[in-house]
Amino acid sequence: MQNTTTAPVLKVVDLSLGYLTRAGEVKAVEDFSFELAQGQSLGLVGESGCGKTSVANCLMRLLPDNAVLRGGQVILDGQDIMALPEEEIREYRWSRIAMVFQAAMNALDPVYRVGQQVVEAIETHGVEGTQSDARERVARLFRMVGLDPALMERYPHEFSGGMRQRAVIAMALSCDPAVIIADEPTTALDVIVQDRILRELKGIQQQLSMAIIYISHDIAVVAEVTDRIGVMYAGRLVEYGDTADVFRAPLHPYTAALMGSFPSITGEKRVLANLSGEPPNLIDPPPGCPFHPRCLHATDRCRTEFPPRVVLGSQWADCWHPLNGEIPDAAQEGVV
């Protein structure tokens, strides 16, 4: 069922978000834009603190009190959800855009039966029908994510990590959303369970033709499950493109460094390149290219002027000195 219409289901334009702290404003997300069509999957990757989860929380309009929106739009079904009042956002949240949370243990209430929690999500978020309709629907969702519907009567502590993550996925699917955000959905799980859940999630996504955003620090996971990838650094998207193209030939040195720092069980064993230094302080980000303090290719220009956008086929990157696609090797780059 290929149904990739040209009109994007989700469109984010120039999103900028800050957090007010005693030390100053943390510029967590800066000029962030992307589009997502029906049935498409996007992977957002980057180090911790790069703004991945802030983007997700923004899309769900689940922001802490100290967050300030500095501009931009999140257009879902033609409606800018950043401009909606809180009462109206509830109609969108879960029914049009839903989230699979990182820590499945915390996403489930320990004192309620798991099935009841999903039923509640359905009832609260405006799917018509009686309680028994809702229960029937939950049973169907449970089967879809590979859980026995009999488990609806159990409590979260009786579930294994993988089962909990499946229940959380069922909850996210409960109101037929057009977009699902999966924030590190398998990070806490063992590889065999991770493999199963990712396969199921991908199958469901294709079957229902949903758009999905995977947020992950693990580029191998993103390589396997997404067709687009966005690499984030210091609150910005620094490279974006078809996953296959970006992995074949990254343009941004940060993308290449990230890829070069993951060990793999396939291919020749190679020396991993250190990505030295730490991500910048986002209260006072460095001038010019935010990556310049850690970049091996940085020149004076990178230190002063914000880089231009380089476009190559499906790919783009904001960089003064885009690469021609090699992943750095420690030996070759001479870093330790």
């Binding site: 369970v193 890829m259 793999s264």
Partner: protein, 348 residues
């Protein structure tokens, strides 16, 4: 439950640690009057050797007993059955020649200080493993003080030196900071410095990079390898990540529910996995290549806890190759299936 001794090799001069029939049970399900009703077989009849300067990766899913093996090796836990033999400088049995290895159980309380100097551990969580009130200097100098190495003045130099080695430069800017002022990667460097400052012969590293971000992870892995090779330290590297084990270790041992199911040279084990569990584990690892089509791992059911497991192959319930023979016989012995490549399976 009598431990059988699998794959016991002679204690050769290169051998640093020799583990045989190591078993650790934890009581669970205390019934009425706190009677112990059953046991978790966290580590069950595990045997392997570690040579001087060697590195062994202990790999498996959560709950397979890999951390327990690590703790048994450095005597943070005592085994229920089985024995660990060490050949460590300054440690010899009460009665015996200085060349003789010493059994873990024979180490007297008086010898523990020497043992702690020789066998160090690096923990998973650098946010939990350090006293937040003590400075970096205090943290690293403490083992020196306990071991009586150097004078107070010497220790400042020794600590500065090790800080340089672990890449916290210039040392003067780190000496009097507190852990909360450091990033996760920097804290883990302090943990490594604290373990190595007493010049141990072997180190158990329990998932030292799993809490860290991508960028600091690579740095810590490279640092550990460099230092271990430079200082001739042997290590046991406990990890759930096969790719990390491949990067860090000469040999890999795969654990499943308290048993080592396969052990061999890293590349040999990865390219020619024998045990069906190793195969399943390998095929579940995501590959950072969008064109690579990975087959789903051939494994049934879910991971269980090894509470009073039946006396048959631990992997029987999930194994794609399981036969009646596997059902009716005890857990298979660990056999050498190729040079240095051992597996515990009736069907390979």
């Amino acid at each position: 439950m009598q431990p059988t001794q699998n794959s016991v090799q002679a204690f050769s001069p290169e051998t640093l640690v020799s583990v045989s029939g190591l078993t650790r049970l934890f009581p669970v399900g205390r019934g009425l009057f706190r009677r112990t009703t059953s046991f978790i077989h966290a580590v069950d009849d595990v045997s392997f050797d570690l040579d001087h300067g060697d590195s062994l990766g202990l790999v498996g899913e959560s709950g397979c007993g890999k951390t327990t093996v690590g703790k048994l090796l450095v005597k943070l836990l005592e085994p229920t059955y089985g024995e660990v033999l060490f050949r460590l400088p300054g440690l010899t049995p009460q009665a015996g020649s200085p060349e003789d290895p010493i059994a873990s159980s024979a180490i007297t309380s008086g010898q523990m200080r020497v043992f702690r100097r020789q066998a160090q551990m690096i923990f998973q969580d650098p946010y939990e493993s350090m006293n937040p009130r003590r400075t970096i200097y205090d943290t690293i100098a403490e083992p020196l003080a306990v071991q009586g190495i150097g004078t107070v003045m010497d220790r400042v130099d020794l600590v500065s030196e090790i800080l340089m080695l672990v890449g916290l430069t210039p040392p003067a800017t780190f000496l009097f900071r507190h852990p909360h002022e450091l990033s996760g990667g920097q804290r883990q460097r302090v943990a490594i410095a604290r373990a190595l400052v007493v010049e141990p012969t072997f180190v158990v590293a329990d998932e030292p990079t799993s809490m860290l971000d991508v960028s600091s992870r690579t740095g810590i892995m490279n640092l550990m390898q460099q230092l271990a090779h430079g200082l001739g330290i042997a290590y046991l590297y406990v990890t759930h990540d096969l790719a990390v084990a491949r990067y860090m270790c000469h040999r890999i041992a795969v654990m499943y529910l308290g048993k080592i199911v396969e052990i061999g040279e890293t590349e040999e084990l990865l390219h020619n996995p024998l045990h069906p569990y190793t195969r399943a584990l390998l095929s579940a690892v995501p590959v950072p290549d969008p064109h690579f089509r990975r087959e789903p791992p051939d494994i049934r059911g879910d991971l269980t806890a090894p509470i009073d497991p039946p006396d048959r192959c631990r992997f029987y319930d999930r194994c794609p190759l399981a036969t009646l023979h596997c059902r009716d016989n005890p857990h298979p012995p660990t056999e050498e299936k190729g040079p240095g490549h051992w597996a515990a399976c009736y069907e390979v």
